[in-house]
Amino acid sequence: MTATIEPEVGKARSRKEDARLITGRTRWTDNLTLPGLLHLAILRSPFAHARINSIDTSEAKTRPGVIAVYTATDLDPDGSIGLPCAWPITPDMKSPRRPVLAADTVNFAGEGVAVVVARSKAEATDALEAIEVDYEELPVVLGLENALAEGAPLVHEELGTNRNALWVFDSGEAGSGGNVEEAISGAEVVVKRRFRQQRLIPAFMEPRSCMVDPTGAQITMWSATQVPHILKTMAALTLGIPEHKLRVIAPDVGGGFGGKLAVIPEETMSLLVAQKLGKPVKWTESRSETMLAAHHGRDQVQDITIAANRDGTVTGLKVELLADMGAYLGLVGPGVPILGAFMFNAIYKIPAYHFACTTVFTNTTLTDAYRGAGRPEATFGIERIMDELAAELGMEPMELRKKNWIKHEEFPFTTVAGLTYDSGNYEAATEKAMQLFDYDGLRREQKERRDRNDPVQLGIGISTFTEMCGLAPSRVVGSLDYGAGGWEAASIRMLATGKVEVVTGASAHGQGHETAWSQIVADQLGVPFEDVEVLHGDTQSSAKGLDTYGSRSLVVGGIAVVKAAEKVVTKARTIAAHLMECSPDDLEFAQGKFTVRGTDKSTTIQDIAFSAFLAHNLPDGIEPTLDSDAVFDPENFSFPHGTHLCAAEVDTETGRVNLRSYVCVDDIGSVVNPLIVEGQVHGGLAQGIAQALFEEAVYDESGTLTTGTFADYLLPSAADLPSFTTDRTETPSTTNPLGVKGVGEAGTIASTPAVVNAVVDAVRHLGVDDIEMPCSPMRVWAAVHRGQKDAGGLGSEAGGGLGSIDASGGAQ
């Protein structure tokens, strides 16, 4: 048994996971089956808002293969079951019950009204047609402003309002900064803007699916979920299944992006049906169902006011948000915009800050976590308005950022929103990015194109961003009324033969935990990478856990693994000392070997594992076997940052946007596996760019989702995206032993404003100061033409061309 020599952490290891994924041996939930398995299909409302007068299921029950048909009254006769919202953001937040199936009214198109159980999926789906529902259409309310208008139809009549909650942070009141109104009224320059965050669909590639087997001593549930542990607890709480009688397994999961951070009606329904019939059942959705009924993301209107001195020093920031929750509250839905509250001030030293968020109900699919959750929205808002402020001041946008950002020597830095950023070096990342990008060269080319009235103009977009990763610390998230802790658990079991099983509570859905955790453990214990097996996604093997979302896996879960390994080494040291008849302090541990200091007497950790297993000769008070458990609850979030630069060519005649180059330098602290990191950044960029240019969930005026398939919802393909130049700086986090910060969301958070800033920058001299997302050719073309009309034609140097800006502050 030889110990590894090269450190594993930091190595671009190709992934352990790949072997099964590239050969089609993957355990997707829909690939699994059980003897006697029955299949579910769900009848969904075609109306966005309607009263259900009656449902006739008698005909459907006679259809071939059909075993049962259930409505709300069958599954939940007293109407007591509600899907949980675990993040009540204010004490008076309105939390209407979200039923498993709609009983009297449907509140969005796609809400389930009945479920068919049949021998095959096809038979179940066929029988849906035979169910007769008598709907009485009700007035529909769509759009945030409409929902709050006087006399608007109400989504939930009994609440008397579509207003859900109002959450406010004020730096004056919190004592973390000054008073914003004073800052604004005393400012030399004030820029005010309204930005829209269009509604997006997470669109993980594996549709959601779950299978329930109620026939054992425990109920076993397989689900394509990001959150098996949370699901288990929530199912126990909402359905009264004793927690120890439920086992949840998330086998291989095909992407999530927050879209599978949920406890969904279909999972609950499957549990209820399986228990009722005493037979295993499976539900797998079609893509159209995903689009319609799996939660959406974003959907905010942001009113942002920024105050500054003429020299560019920002003096105050005020953010008023409206956030569309859809028809019900999702698991963490209301908390999503609140996460943004802490990120609007971004990397800047802002002396006064006010944030107010109104959450609103509409007759649409609910919104909830989506990659970045709150932070992309905030980053977009601040990075867009910084560009608009720069234009108003006639300042180079990068110079404006440099003037206001937190300097390297100022860390740790407590922001106006009350967070303490542990470490960062915005200068280094920016310098590297500007060089890779050829910032000055592109600015020169931009000017040349403007000078010659080139029909294709060049724009440069900047996004210097930070985010908060690693959700935990439990006590902090508790103070925000989040309904769970944020810790993560890990166990390490050294087996008799010296091989290692690692159990993590952070179950993965494509992030490569099996590889990264193996690298960490290989270094910590000094065992070969190949000798480590990582187990996750099963509440039986990983009894404790809080799952994977918000870039918390490595920063919280990975550190739990380190803690567990440290305990294993400590125990092994005690045993080694006993066997080698020395004091534990006399032992050096390196690369899997305990050596008696100053001698060549040594033993390996694998040998100690075997001794611990035999237990023939252990020190007093030491339990047999070599294993340990750890739970890590960090003391702070982590704060990755970076500089993203985008060069966009905009055809002023067609509105077409071509991304010419995209450079990002991210600082995510120390890196465990650069290959995985690079992949995460690429994927994140694609998703953020998609928001800027392609994707939008659109409802027509009756509340029908018109972008309900991949034919209408423009998920970018390989042909729609460029290759990216990605690089890193490494400023280790000071709050965890690996120095890691998290990377899952960085690309998405930073790229959207970089791209939109580039598009606007390309045509700003034509009188354009904003283009709503997604910046489709039509929108870009229209903006250019509007701008030219306002500003007096192509080629006019209209000093920023701030056609519609409300720069009311002006000089005092």
């Binding site: 790949d18 590239i22 050969t23 095909g254 992949g679 994927g683 998703q687 398939t709």
Partner: protein
């Protein structure tokens, strides 16, 4: 209707309903669950297989249309424990994350390389236009396909996977596990 097909080298004969899609036949009747379903509009490409050596979206083909045909799925690519060069290249270039799109991507990439043994970046991107991936941003997929091209003899596309075919590459060992 009764159909007879050869899937990954094994002949099957089954009674199928006329409306059964090939992907459902593969998954439900044959248990070939390596081929997956990502959409219901033939847009995502997750279900791509080879039908007589040509890539097709198996959700857009009826099982009865495959009668008498030879089908290769992701499960039939590796031979004698050796990965297909495209599989190997996906692994080597970290061209997958969750892996749900991966079987379809690999099958499509093989077909692409059969048509164009040395594609440039643009050709790869255009050749994969019908296959969606939500995780990778495609960059490493493009890299993998171009890398695979360097390890395959020209024309060693779907032809070479024919069970009776003699197309030979230099396969690398299955890595990772």
């Amino acid at each position: 209707m009764r159909i007879t097909v050869t899937v990954d080298g094994t002949q099957y004969s089954d009674e199928v309903e006329p409306r059964t899609l090939l992907v459902h036949y593969l998954r439900e009747t044959l248990g070939k669950v390596g081929t997956v379903i990502g959409c219901d509009t033939s847009n995502c490409g997750a279900c791509t297989v080879h039908l007589n050596g040509q890539s097709v979206k198996s959700c857009s083909v009826l099982a009865v249309q495959a009668d008498g045909c030879e089908i290769t799925t992701i499960e039939g690519l590796a031979r004698d424990g050796q990965l297909h060069p495209v599989q190997q290249a996906f692994h080597d270039n970290h061209a997958l994350q969750c892996g749900f799109c991966t079987p379809g991507m690999i099958m499509q990439s093989i077909d692409l390389l059969a048509d164009n043994p040395d594609p440039d970046e643009k050709a790869v991107r255009e050749g994969l236009e019908g296959n969606l991936c939500r995780c990778t941003g495609y960059q490493n997929i493009v890299r993998a396909v171009r890398d695979a091209a360097q390890h395959m003899s020209p024309g060693a596309g779907p032809e070479a996977e024919r069970v009776d075919g003699s197309g030979v590459r230099e396969p690398s060992a299955i890595g990772g596990e």
